[in-house]
Symmetry: C2
Amino acid sequence: MSNPTAAMLVIGDEILSGRTQDTNTHHLAGELTKQGINLKEVRVISDDAVSIVAAVRKLSSIYMHVFTSGGIGPTHDDITADCIAEAFGSHIEIRDDARAILQTHYDAQKLPLNDARLRMARIPDKATLIDNPISKAPGFTIENVHVMAGVPSIFQAMLASVLPSLTGGQPLLSETYRVERGEGDIAAPLSALASAFPALSIGCYPFQQNGLYGANIVIRGSDAGILKEAMTRLRTEIPR
Amino acid sequence: MSNPTAAMLVIGDEILSGRTQDTNTHHLAGELTKQGINLKEVRVISDDAVSIVAAVRKLSSIYMHVFTSGGIGPTHDDITADCIAEAFGSHIEIRDDARAILQTHYDAQKLPLNDARLRMARIPDKATLIDNPISKAPGFTIENVHVMAGVPSIFQAMLASVLPSLTGGQPLLSETYRVERGEGDIAAPLSALASAFPALSIGCYPFQQNGLYGANIVIRGSDAGILKEAMTRLRTEIPR
């Protein structure tokens, strides 16, 4: 059986303007790979309602899981929750369970639960809350979409809350073999290796370091035995 | 007149598996913003022909410019050039101008221009070559798509070759105002500011540092006068 598939939707003008480097995708990719869920596509879009609704509908119809980051804070540009509700035709308003979490949190800090902060309790009707141990305002899961914060520490904490509930696949194993030769010299044997092991994915990633050219050959697959066999043949055909 | 629009297409299994963090998008975003070209969307997809062809067709039909990174090296998993040709129904084969560049380069290094390296001279018929001062194998532009390497130093060098030929728009100016208060406290005045200055984009990006909560308020726009006016009002309404 093939592994579950997933997509990531990064929402935020700050990524597209170059102000902020997105690091949530890289974190998600690593975590999903460990769990045997194949991240197949990532999209980064702006804080624009039409774009968000369209992307959520599209990605959720193609992939088994969709993870979003960004746009669930208290300010006027945080429109993700309402857009997700619209994408699924769900009613959305301030929900008691989310409000209670915020009330406890802000009471403890002696801060007012004002209108802006209450926006973070706007959760679609049928959604399940995602725990946020860092700053409390919850994310949520609706259908196959997991809606999380953009701040990396909170995104990571929310993802850790969500991941155990997902059915994983066979973890993707990988082996890396570093050679200090140009890709052009090793392309032919690599191509033959890829043909001989159709169940494996064989990638070649060139690097330059201190004037030195080389490549990391990465073989990925979920069967440890086949992977080992391919690595043995690789070492023979492309000796270091 | 509104600014030109652009999309980025990152091609590579290594990004989706979490092996490699994509940094080309962040670099591109910063460069385009300086030039007044609005990066509107980013997609990351795997080294899969069907996905590449579909994404190139889609993005090139929506945005004025599309930039791609990855998949133009000499190995079997480098299929980008052929997929781009297919997307535009263009013939592709080893082209004399690209071959001449490679021949000179490898002759100088006393390395053979073998079949694998010659793959890097496969360029669609109507494409224009993009200069690669680092490792010589060229990128190319076909219609509104600029096809570049995935290795960051080469991507950046190719982008520097392409950018001067593009018509920019009014550079997007931005001002950042840092406040050490929670987003929930400043959301209401920010929302009012956003309504008062519809020509500007006002974003609020929370941070946590050493137990301190705060936010960077970023105002973006292309009219320096309006931006200054908004900043003055921001300082008055949300004093530090």
